[in-house]
């Protein structure tokens, strides 16, 4: 499993285009929003946590189709499916690799980009924490979506259509927790549910994703 993770990470770093692209996209989204809504800093400060969350979510979506596509095309996915390692484990590692190359950089960059959005002082901490807890769920749900569409020629748009509705609870609880944290309200409940969504996704979705891959490889 570790070897698979290392292989995936190495492939993503060396292939180019995959790793930095998500971050660049995130940056562009954060830059575009003030153009769209105007530069008033009080307005930006109010919507900043939400915009950062939506931006991170979209950036996450961008690299999803790459999780299985290349392995499917060159046949390594068939090898992985017949390997002694359970497919559920393979899927989990794929999701982890996606998180390390997408979710983690986005989480680290979000407070930085928050400066562009005149994020309130407390917001840096809250956006960072909620993204840190929430992005694993985004990666795992996305991996499930990628597993569903792996056999399709033009699965990219369909993938977004399938995955975005599934992202709604994570986004809601993530942004809500950040908002409550910034405003000094009680955040324990939503934070706990956000963590629960992440943990639940990681616990259940590998089975669903592995089942989808088995169907697609049939």
């Amino acid at each position: 499993m570790i070897a698979l993770l290392v292989r995936d990470l190495r492939l993503t770093f060396r292939a180019g285009g995959g790793f930095g692209l998500g971050l660049a996209f995130f940056l562009i989204v954060t830059v575009l929003v003030p153009f769209g809504v105007g530069p008033q800093s009080d307005l930006l400060a109010r919507i900043a946590p939400g915009i950062l969350w939506v931006g991170a979510l979209l950036a996450c979506l961008l690299s999803l189709d790459r999780i299985f596509q290349l392995d499917f095309e060159d046949g390594s996915l068939d090898l992985l499916a017949t390997a002694p390692l359970p497919l559920e484990g393979v899927v989990t590692m794929k999701a982890l690799a996606h998180w390390v190359t997408t979710g983690l950089p986005l989480t680290l960059a979000a407070p930085l980009f928050g400066g562009l959005m005149s994020l309130p002082q407390a917001g840096y901490f809250w956006v960072f924490v909620t993204l840190l807890i929430g992005t694993p769920a985004l990666s795992m749900i996305g991996t499930f979506g990628a597993a569903l569409t792996v056999g399709l020629k033009r699965g990219g748009l369909l993938l977004s259509l399938l995955v975005l509705p599934l992202y709604i609870p994570t986004l809601l609880f993530g942004a809500e927790t950040a908002r409550r944290g910034i405003m000094g309200m009680d955040y324990a409940q939503t934070l706990a549910i956000l963590a629960g969504v992440s943990a639940g996704s990681i616990a259940i979705l590998p089975f669903a994703a592995a089942a989808a891959i088995r169907i697609n490889l049939r």
């Binding site: 749900i141 499930f144 569903l148 569409t149 056999g151 399709l152 699965g155 369909l158 259509l161 399938l162 975005l164 509705p165 599934l166 709604i168 609870p169 809601l172 609880f173 809500e176 409940q189 939503t190 549910i193 969504v197 259940i204 979705l205 669903a208 089942a211 989808a212 169907i215 697609n216 049939r218």
Partner: protein, 257 residues
């Protein structure tokens, strides 16, 4: 192989699952459908006519209250259709009955339509009552999310060529989607306060709506339920026929080649 066949033969639920055999399914639904259609007409038309023309105007609502006889049943059916879809998907995944997969596909279409009807009638009702066609009220939002889930499900059906693969993948999506749909329903409660009033149709509460509105509403609810059942059965029959047609076409092409 032989062993499992024998065991299936001994299965005491076999009589039940035999109804899902495509040939038998076509024959019994063909016989039942006219009766179901008649029952739909007998409940739906009186329910709606009674509701529209022979109920008093509710205090504070004016005549706009009458849209409830379409809005509430269609919203209920939008959710029931999802349940139907999940059950049919499970039947396909567990028992491998093709009719199950096709019924799930049919139920999704009906559910999508009912969701759209509920959203549209809700918007029309919302304009005089709340002064807006759309607000990010938890129930409205939940229905919009349900609409998106239906669209995603049907898009996946449409995108995959092989019918068995499509049935398998959409079934998996339906099950995972249900978990997330329920989660979204409760998530939106945290996010905004509602405009909808609390439950007024539950059987165990003191505070229900008055009987003059309640009785035609129940009739419409039953009518919409039967209507959905009829539509899903018709849709499933169409799908079965379409698949047979495709098989015949393939056979023709094979013979010509």
């Amino acid at each position: 192989m032989e062993d499992t066949r024998v065991r299936q033969h001994d299965d005491r639920w076999n009589w039940f699952w035999a109804w899902a055999n495509p040939v038998k399914f076509m024959s019994w639904t063909g016989k039942v459908l006219p009766w179901l259609m008649a029952m739909t007409l007998v409940t739906l038309i009186p329910g709606l006519v009674w509701g529209f023309f022979f109920t008093p105007e509710a205090q504070g609502f004016g005549s706009s209250v009458k849209i409830i006889y379409v809005h509430v049943p269609s919203a209920t059916m939008a959710i029931q259709a999802w349940g139907m879809m999940v059950v049919a998907s499970l039947i396909w995944l567990i028992r491998r009955h093709h009719v199950g997969a096709l019924a799930a596909k049919g139920a999704a279409l009906i559910g999508l339509t009912m969701t759209a009807v509920a959203l549209i009638t809700g918007a029309i009702w919302g304009q005089p009552m709340w002064g807006t066609y759309w607000a990010w009220d938890p129930r409205l939002t939940a229905f919009l999310i349900l609409f998106l889930f239906y669209i995603g499900y049907m898009a996946l059906w449409a995108a995959i060529d092989d019918p068995d693969t499509a049935a398998d993948l959409t079934s998996v999506l339906a099950i995972v989607g249900s978990v997330f749909a329920v989660l979204s329903r409760y998530a939106v409660n945290f996010w905004n306060q509602g405009l909808h009033q609390g439950a007024t149709l539950s059987l165990d509460k003191e505070e229900n709506i008055a009987d003059v509105f309640w009785l035609p509403l129940v009739l419409s609810l039953v009518g919409f339920g039967l209507l959905c059942l009829v539509l899903v059965l018709v849709r499933t029959r169409t799908e079965v026929r379409m698949r047979r047609l495709r098989a015949i076409e393939m056979r023709e092409r094979m013979r010509d080649a």
